[in-house]
Every structure is written in C-alpha cells, then in structure tokens.
Symmetry: C2
Subunit: 178 residues, 2 copies
C-alpha cells in the first residue's frame, strides 16, 4: 500500500458528499470495523467530524475507551464487504478476517487503516459531551491519507434497508463556496 498524505484542509471534500464509511477502532491489539452513514463535517480546519454510534454497537465501547478511530472511505468495489461489516458484530466476529479486509498501521494512533479503502482519516475524539444524550462523538482528523492509484472513486450512499446510491457523474458550477 503506497498511501499518500492528504492535506487536512481538503478533508471536508471527502466527507461532505455523505459516503458510507467504515470506522475502525482497536483495543489490546484487536481491531474492529463498523459501517456508518450518520456523520457530518463540523469544522474545516482542523477538520472536526461529528458522528453517531449507537451504544448497542461494539465499537461504541472501544471508541469511548481508546478515544481513537480511523474513518475509512470505501468505494463500490467493496460494497458487499461494507454491508457485511454492517450486519455483524465485532463482539463475536473478526471482521478483517471474515471479509478479507487488510489492517495497516496508522501513523499516529492505534486503530488501523483499511487498505482496501481509498481514503483513511486518523482521528482522535475531541468532545464527548453529546455522547450520553445522542451517542454523538466529535472527532478531530489529525492525519489523512489517500490511495493515489484511485482516480475516480465511486462512493456508496445508503438509502436504507440495503439500498445504496452509487456516486454518478460529476458537474462543476461556478461558485464562491469552499
């Protein structure tokens, strides 16, 4: 895996379109993966991201304990693995092994990158004050990576009940928006 460092100032453009993501966490060297769509950018730079993890998910406890995670962004080629990760629990399944995904060491945290994803965002939990009420974590992206071989990743976007929209054509409009 020849990952390339990606500027933190451009991270919002990866998450703002709303792709399904794979969140990795790790405890005592045993990593886990969860599938998630409920996330939003909160600040451009340093990039802050808010996301919701149900407290019934195995990853909830891992994230609360370690305060570290990686947001990995998959493309459509591994959609079946993404759904598989969403339909199993890390409490009783090693999802890397079950779904043939490859954990790679992160640069700054203990949770692993997923090699099969085209982007990986190393995060530290920045604020847990909304966790008890909404299961909403605020994390800061402290290091970002992309796979430079992937030129036009077709992300997947969950419509509910296993229905996904796959990223289609791109259009450019004249805009002052960041």
């Amino acid at each position: 895996m020849a990952r390339k460092s990606f500027p933190l100032s451009k991270v919002y453009g990866l998450l703002e379109p709303g792709p399904v993501i794979l969140l990795t966490t790790a405890s005592s060297g045993r990593p886990n993966i969860m599938t998630m769509s409920w996330h939003t950018m909160i600040e451009f730079e340093p990039p802050l991201v808010g996301f919701v993890i149900s407290n019934r998910n195995y990853s909830f406890g891992l994230l609360k304990a370690t305060k570290e995670c990686v947001i990995n962004i998959p493309a459509v080629e591994i959609a079946e693995k993404v759904v598989g990760c969403g339909n199993t629990s890390g409490a009783n399944v090693d999802k890397f092994e079950r779904f043939g995904l490859t954990p790679k060491p992160a640069a700054r945290i203990g949770a692993p990158l997923i090699e099969e994803c085209f982007a990986n965002l190393e995060c530290r939990v920045a604020d847990t004050s909304m966790v008890s009420k909404y299961c909403l974590f605020v994390v800061e992206v402290i290091k970002a990576w992309i796979d430079p071989k992937v030129k036009n990743p077709r992300t997947i976007h969950h419509l509910g009940s296993g229905n996904f929209m796959v990223a289609g054509e791109k259009i450019k409009l004249k805009s002052k928006m960041k």
Copy 2:
C-alpha cells in the same frame, strides 16, 4: 403542488445519503434560503437531524430566533439555483425572487416549503446546547412531504469549490441494516 405526506419513520433514507439541502427560515413573513451540506441523522424516530450553520450566515440568526426551518431537498435540475443560494446572502437578496423559487406554506411552521424541491421536512429546533461551541443545531422533523411525481430524484452532493457528484445508479444488497 400536490405534495404527499411522507412517513416520519422513513425520513432517514432521504438524508442519510448526504444530499445538498436548501434550508428555509422566515422572519416577519420574509423567508430566506440557505444551501447546506453539513448535516447528519441523529435519531430514527422521531427523526432528529443535526446540522451546522456558520454564525456568519443570515439564516443563523433567523433560526435562533424562530426555532423553525424546513429542510428542502433539491435534485440536479435546479443545481444552478442551489449554488446561487449558496453564493448570496439573505441579508440583501430575496433568494426566492432572485432564483425563481416558489415558497409554499408549511403545515405546521412559519418557514415555507420550496415547491421546486422533491422533499420537504418541516422542523422545530430541539436542542441548542451545541450552538455556541459548534454552531450545531439539533432539529426534530415534525412533518415530511414528498412530490409523488418525482420517481427517481438525482440528488447532488458537494465535493467542494462548486464541484458536485450527481446521484448515480442504485444497487440493492442483502442487509439487516435499517
């Protein structure tokens, strides 16, 4: 406009894919529109949505004061109007007039629906405790509408700097996920 009532239990499927939305607010009968991508579902039912509005935006003050808004979801056909709304301020522009959009009365709140959008979610602010720190509002969707004539809306998803991804093909995978 023959809007059809849409079940609150299915609202998550409209927002979870991450489309650009148009948020409408109103004060003293004068409505405004802002373009936004930083939103996430927080709860299925009643549907709670979290979104970030910069306190430099005109809509920030309107929403804080009235505690009501509509989340309108546009499709690609009006992408230029969406960008126009994102590049102007309600402080000095009547965006409905400028961009040829049509305000329609909501059922339960004062802010208007946008007729040219295929879905409209009437919302009340549910929690402002994260506004001072993150400009993050939590709203509850209290009434949802769709345009039954629009069968396959192609939403737009912001990649940054006026670049958008248009919703592409749909795929269905066997899943236990909601």
